[in-house]
Symmetry: C2
Subunit: 490 residues, 2 copies
């Protein structure tokens, strides 16, 4: 299992990719930071020096030195012969920063930060061997060679003035390329005049939040279940969020009408986390509601590009571009670290959104925008989506097969699209708390559906949101087998 | 003068850098956009098709076609034989967007958007041949080859996990590289734990503004004269701005103490626009004040790297890192389009600033950050600064010589550093309004010092803020000669 452990520890300790001469220092710094930020919480047992050295591919002496140094500094505590744990000191001192860290695992929609474990023991309390938390694509699929070629082409051809202060809406060639791509792939009405390049769906949410708040709104509705991170983003703009119940067709019309919100965030193409696609009727109902209350809909099309067994579902925005703000990004298709996304904005909001974008950052970096334009225009983006789709379908199939073999009786839904599924494990495998505790002890990081909404079904089943896209098929299989062994079936 | 005209029109019509097959469409789109956005205002006379074709290096037929198309669409109007003008229609329709456009000329500090001409006729009313408005570096000095090499190196070595959701504070290797560089070059206390990568000084202002507003502040003091753009950025966070008078040593202590602000933005190393360097006494006074009122200082170190005739002045932040938020960027040293900058944040504000950065955009793009880290670490940044410094000193010297020759009697100050000077032209050249109108008619874009503050001296002199860094020495000389000819001396 060393390879899965490695993946997790590399995520936790990214600085180990530093040049050899700085590696010792980088490891210490990364460990220190992981403790400070709360990514490694007090009481977490660290792997042995031998194990961690093997996982990270560094010398054991370097790990030993790091453990000793950090123990001396109070970040770690060590019981001779019994192992090394994360200490209590650092976390208390910087508790206020904990929410800013660990943005590595987005919760699904492109919002960056995870739901923190308020529901039983998290995987942090033991070593993470397989991480099924949703939100991250497979970063090894990033097309480095093609991206490098696009970078070269851009630096060769870009005229000097294009390096000046950008248009806050984005560079024209990217807006044109994206408008074409989105029209073709997602069925949106993508007038490039309405397209605003932004850093992703998280920024789109914040931009829209500020604009709606300035217009006097005080709350936004979010899907239940949905992504609590939307709530945190809107809170930063002064807006409350209101959970609105979902059924198997989409947002329930009655509770929506009864609420007094005038804006909602939805994921109609592949609802996060339930995986449903909204019915045509509910889409129409939502737009009727928006027109009636003079409201707006933010459509978070976080993974609309990934379809396996069915025809693509067109975006809601195509039905009413004056009521729907459409937002998407390259975070699932290329890499979240690029921080590149887009919004299609109703005419009535456009000026305010662009002015807000301007005061936030004056616009996205121009070279990145030009590179993406080049990449889209030359067909690289379509090729990348096909490549991801093949890889992710294979992993999904591995997940379904592993669940059927090792946890029979599990019902899976939301499987036709996206980067995650919902798995409902029957109560025969033990009560949910014990199931999750055992999985965590075995080093498997899982998220419960209950973390994403208000429902608390008492039927004894364990409802999981399983992200699989970032894991090799063998890791998917191994992870499910580990869970099954841990809960007493295997 | 065609080369200067070309420079201006290329800025205005950047899309003409498009591939040949799309050039006609790109030109039309760029013209349309220039009109819509207010960059070309109603009544502006366009160059002849022959002139514009020559300036842009495209065929005359393509320009003719663009003029005809846009005339048909109502953007332009044409009087046979008398020329082509910008029409009235488009602007009225989208007047609300005008402030978002023309971010190409920053006002000096790295804030992006220009002061709009409320003071007499702007250069937009005729063709701009030489543009002395401050704020833009010479974009042709951008080190394309070295940047491309750093991009290649980064894409080769970066570990996969580094492409995931970033740390909102920035990637560790860049924070380390910047901390070292800033400590060495600017005399700051640059603990990398306090360093937050951001998109530039504009974003630093907005981030800090939100944090201060949440702490109950309702206004920020700005230098008079200073940059009104700071006011617009803070307004977007709910903060008012208060002008605080400057003298030749820095902010006057009395009015500062008498104001009820608890935060100020200052440019002590090379005050914008006056060009003074704050005295040691005023620096100490400011920090005393900050400690007394439990306040904060935002130090906008927008061009602190450029020194010609004197030793560098260390940053204010080095004197009290718990009271000074230090902000800088690559906008003047590399290119504003990169949107990369940094802040050093007092411990007491750090958690709030980072959380605000997270909700704004989750952090800056990781590849850009890694490339800058590579560039700084390999010595490329120091080389670039030396190169710019040589080029800009030569241009400053050309400006001083041209003013002495063509507008004798002009007093120049703020000449030891930065990318602009203050020129005080005596009243013998005519009253200020006529002087500026004539210069504008001659195609020379100038900004008056009065645009940057509240002072309205009645002595009849013309006070100009002249940016020279983006102009070749020959253009600098030609521009001043044009002004002299236009005002009746040459």
């Amino acid at each position: 299992m060393s390879s899965h452990g490695q993946a997790a520890w590399e995520l936790l300790l990214p600085a180990v990719g530093a040049p050899a001469r700085r590696r010792g220092r980088a490891l210490q710094e990364a460990l220190r930071e992981a403790v400070r930020s709360g990514r490694l919480i007090a009481g977490t047992r660290l792997p042995s020096t031998r194990e961690l050295a093997a996982d990270l591919g560094v010398s054991r002496g370097l790990v030993t030195e790091a453990y000793e140094q950090l123990t001396a500094e109070g970040y770690l505590r060590s019981d001779r012969g019994a192992g090394t744990w994360v200490g209590e000191a650092a976390r208390a001192r910087r508790a206020d920063r904990s929410r800013t860290a660990d943005a590595r695992h987005g919760p699904g929609p492109d919002c960056g930060t995870p739901v923190r474990g308020a529901h039983g023991p998290g995987p942090e309390t033991s070593r993470v061997r397989v991480d099924f938390r949703p939100g991250t694509p497979d970063l090894s699929l990033f097309p480095r060679a093609a991206w490098a070629a696009a970078q070269r082409a851009v630096l060769t051809r870009l005229p000097h003035p294009a390096l000046g202060y950008p248009d806050p809406r984005g560079v024209p060639e990217l807006r044109e390329a994206l408008a074409g791509m989105l029209t073709r792939r997602r069925g949106v009405v993508a007038d490039e005049e309405r397209l605003v390049v932004c850093s992703g769906v998280a920024q789109a949410s914040t931009l829209l939040g500020f604009v709606l708040r300035a217009r006097g709104l005080d709350a936004v509705g979010i899907e239940d279940p949905g992504s609590p991170e939307h709530g945190r983003l809107f809170a930063s703009t002064g807006l409350d969020t209101v959970w609105l119940p979902l059924d198997e067709e989409g947002l329930r019309t009655g509770p929506l009408a009864a609420s007094d919100v005038r804006a909602v965030v939805v994921t109609p193409s592949h609802q996060f986390p339930s995986g449903i696609s909204w019915s045509a009727e509910r889409r129409a109902d939502l737009l009727d509601w928006a027109r009636t209350v003079d409201g707006y809909v933010l459509e978070d099309d976080y993974d609309g590009d990934f379809r396996y067994d069915r025809a693509p579902v067109g975006a809601l925005q195509g039905l009413d571009p004056e009521r729907v703000v459409y937002a998407g990004s390259v975070s699932k298709s290329l890499a979240p670290g690029l921080r590149l996304g887009w919004m299609l904005v109703p005419e009535a909001l456009l000026g305010e959104v662009v002015e807000r974008k301007r005061t936030m950052d004056l616009g996205n970096p121009v070279l990145d925008q030009a590179v993406l334009a080049e990449f889209v225009t030359r067909g690289g983006y379509d090729r990348q989506l096909r490549r991801c789709q093949r890889a992710y379908r294979e992993r999904r199939d591995a997940l379904l097969a592993a669940l059927a073999e090792h946890l029979p009786g599990t019902r899976v839904s939301g499987i036709a699209a996206g980067l995650h599924v919902i798995a409902r494990v029957p109560g025969d495998y033990g009560p949910p708390e014990r199931f999750l505790a055992r999985a965590a002890e075995a080093g498997v990081a899982l998220r419960r559906l209950e973390e994403y909404g208000t429902a608390r079904p008492a039927d004894g089943d364990v409802r999981l949101v399983i992200g699989y896209a970032h894991l090799a098929p063998s890791a998917v299989t191994a992870g499910i087998r580990l869970v099954a062994e841990a809960v007493g079936r295997g």
